[in-house]
């Protein structure tokens, strides 16, 4: 699905990613944990194509394409989805309107006809039910005035609507109550198939009770410094990150 090799990225001349390697295969869920400021969101932004970062070395192949050569929108159309750690409020732009445009641009990219209004509304109903988001919320301005938890739910709603190949979820569990945590996990698990994959960035082991990862990675100082089975998350929860720093 995605293969990241020796990725170096900097912003304002400061190197944040310092030779990151990660491979995720179709059908897998990988969790990334790591201390604040380690570079987790930077990785997510670089994968999504944020132009503020300068890629100084490395390769990323996504579905056998050179991801770094694609524009942000083409990455999305190829099937990459980023659930933002801090979803942006966009007053005046309706959630469903922009999702319809997004969906249709993706379909056009793949040579498909636009979705009919009827099918689109049916899809909105189905997916909003799946993530238990109030359909009224779905038709409001993007994230405007949403609570922290509602914003995160809206990210999962959009993900469900766009049905990506690879979803990168950046702390989608932060700020969620227990019910929302279950619902967001349901959304992620519903996407799970032999053709899809997810990268779940989190600080909390409890998310991984709902979304069982195939691998857990520790991102520290711009690199993946440790990888292991899901039990690694439990160990991190108990022992923190110091023992890993010391072992470096």
């Amino acid at each position: 699905m995605i293969k990241i090799e020796n990725l170096h990225a900097s912003i304002n001349g400061k190197e944040i990613l310092k030779g990151l390697n990660l491979t995720v295969n179709a059908g897998e869920v990988h969790a990334i944990m790591g201390p604040n400021g380690a570079g987790k969101s930077t990785l997510a932004s670089v994968l999504a194509g944020r132009e503020d970062y300068e890629i100084t070395a490395g390769n990323v192949s996504f579905l056998d394409k050179d991801l770094l050569e694609l524009s942000t929108e083409d990455r999305a159309r190829e099937g990459l989805f980023l659930a933002f750690q801090y979803p942006v409020e966009i007053p005046g732009v309706s959630n469903v309107n922009f999702l319809r445009t997004a969906l249709n641009e993706k379909r056009a990219y793949h040579g498909q006809d636009p979705i009919s209004a009827k099918d689109f509304m049916a899809l909105v109903r189905e997916k909003s039910a799946l993530v238990e988001i109030d359909p009224k919320l779905a038709s409001r301005s993007v994230n405007e005035g949403f609570s922290g938890g509602e914003k995160k739910r809206n990210e999962i709603f959009q993900m469900a609507m766009l049905n990506p190949k690879l979803a990168v979820l950046d702390e989608t569990d932060s700020g969620l109550d227990i019910d929302a945590l279950r619902i967001v996990s349901q959304g992620v698990n519903a996407l799970k198939s032999p053709e899809n994959a997810s990268i779940v960035i989190t600080h909390y082991q409890r998310l991984l009770d709902y979304i069982i990862p195939d691998m857990v990675h520790v991102l520290y100082d711009g690199r993946i410094v440790k990888s292991g089975p899901k039990e690694l998350a439990l160990e991190l929860e108990e022992r923190g990150y110091d023992w890993i720093k010391e072992s470096l």
């Binding site: 929108e73 922009f98 445009t101």
Partner: protein, 411 residues
């Protein structure tokens, strides 16, 4: 000031005839005001951001009459009472319902009753206005259809003078559409005078869509009585040089005033909106929202003044101007001003000029929208609160069509 030689202003008026419409005392005052004057420079407060050199040096072809095809093409509303104004001709529909009277200013002196002028153009209008209409809506009349006024220029320099009188409890929407014919550069200065009696509900929509090479100057003077509702919504779609100067004096309590504007500029367009809302009595509300987008080397000016006089307690006045600049060479000069002399009032004003939100653009693109589609959506959202005042579907469709044609933005 030059003496002896002809200055630019004298050259500008050289081929204009004085008309016999205004009373002599007023003409004398205008002459006195203009004596020795040239076109104002940017050192003058009212033209600080407006370079008149272009106008001073412009050459205008002789005014032409427009034909029926051009008139038909200029209409925006199909189902409306339509008045057509051309430099030498005014067409008034014959099927007007009772309660509305339309006459030519040549037949009445009303438009000069309360004339005042603040700049050379206002004074020139007094002397040279040759054409105009006087519209009178009788009390308790609600027009069943909107009134559409098409003012079409085709070369030449023309001063117009229109007068509107809305009697008590009347209700009407007026769509004033200014256009000019392709290939003729022209200058138009239009003075509008509105008297809004108590309980009248009046909405003026100005659709300004002139070509490159046209100079479109407008001067609006309104007086509102108690419990009246008055709106001027100015939608500037095109025009190389547009200047709007609106003044509303609120004389009766519990009146509401809305002045709104939307402008989309490119190339070397210049659009200036000057507004004055004068709260003279208590318990009134005024709302002002001007929004615009500028790209290339376009320049926009907003200068909004709100006066809240000593007796205007419990005034609620809100004013805002927001702009999006899409190029480094576009510029906006925005100056909201509040002068408050009463103590129990709620007033706010604000002005913002910036680029589109980078984070929002990235967010939309990360969902698969092209950069153009993402910008399009953000600009549409930005202008939405002004366009929301335009409820007429035909007008909205026209606005969208013109923006798509000029900017390739699809709303």
């Amino acid at each position: 000031m030059e003496t002896g030689t002809l200055n630019k202003l004298s050259l500008f008026v050289e081929d204009l005839n004085e008309t016999a419409l205004a009373p002599n005392a007023l003409k004398d005052a205008a002459h006195e005001f203009l004596a020795g004057q040239d076109f104002p420079t940017t050192r003058s407060e009212r033209f600080k951001y407006t370079r008149l050199a272009k106008l001073a040096n412009a050459a205008f072809s002789a005014a032409q009459s427009v034909n029926e095809v051009q008139i038909a093409q200029s209409k925006i509303l199909i189902d409306a009472y339509t008045i057509v104004i051309n430099h030498d001709n005014i067409q008034i529909p014959k099927n007007l319902p009772s309660g509305i009277e339309v006459s030519l200013i040549a037949e009445t002196q009303i438009p000069f009753n309360e004339a005042a002028f603040y700049d050379i153009f206002g004074a020139l209008n007094i002397l040279h206005a040759s054409l105009g209409i006087s519209i009178h809506i009788r009390q308790n009349i609600t027009l069943d259809k909107p009134l559409q006024i098409l003012q079409i220029n085709s070369g030449g320099k023309t001063f117009y003078r229109h007068h509107f009188s809305f009697e008590k409890n009347s209700e009407v929407a007026v769509y004033f559409i200014s256009k000019n014919t392709e290939g003729h550069s022209s200058f138009a200065h239009t003075h509008f005078q509105y008297n809004i009696a108590k309980d009248a509900r009046v909405k003026i929509f100005k659709i300004q869509d002139t070509n490159v090479g046209h100079f479109d100057f407008n001067e609006d003077r309104a007086k509102q009585a108690e419990r009246s509702h008055f709106e001027i919504n100015t939608i500037t779609l095109c025009g190389s040089f547009v200047r709007n100067d609106a003044q509303v004096i609120i004389q009766g309590e519990h009146a509401q005033t809305y002045l709104n504007g939307a402008y989309w500029l490119k190339e070397e367009q210049h659009v200036a909106n000057y507004t004055t809302i004068d709260h003279r009595v208590a318990n009134c509300e005024s709302f002002e929202t001007y929004k615009g987008v500028a790209t290339d080397k376009a320049t926009a000016v907003f200068n909004g003044k709100v006066f809240v006089r000593k007796d205007a307690q419990k005034t609620n006045a809100y004013q805002s101007n927001a702009n999006v600049l899409l190029s480094e060479n576009a510029s906006i000069n925005s100056k909201p001003e509040l002068e408050i002399y009463a103590d129990d009032v709620k007033c706010s004003h604000g002005s913002t000029t910036g680029q589109l939100d980078e984070n929002a653009l990235f967010y939309l693109r990360a969902r698969g929208l092209s950069e153009a589609a993402a910008k399009n959506l953000l600009l549409q959202a930005f202008m939405e609160d002004v366009l929301a005042y335009v409820k007429n579907e035909e007008v909205l469709a026209y606005v969208h069509k013109r923006i798509a044609a000029r900017f390739n933005w699809n709303y």
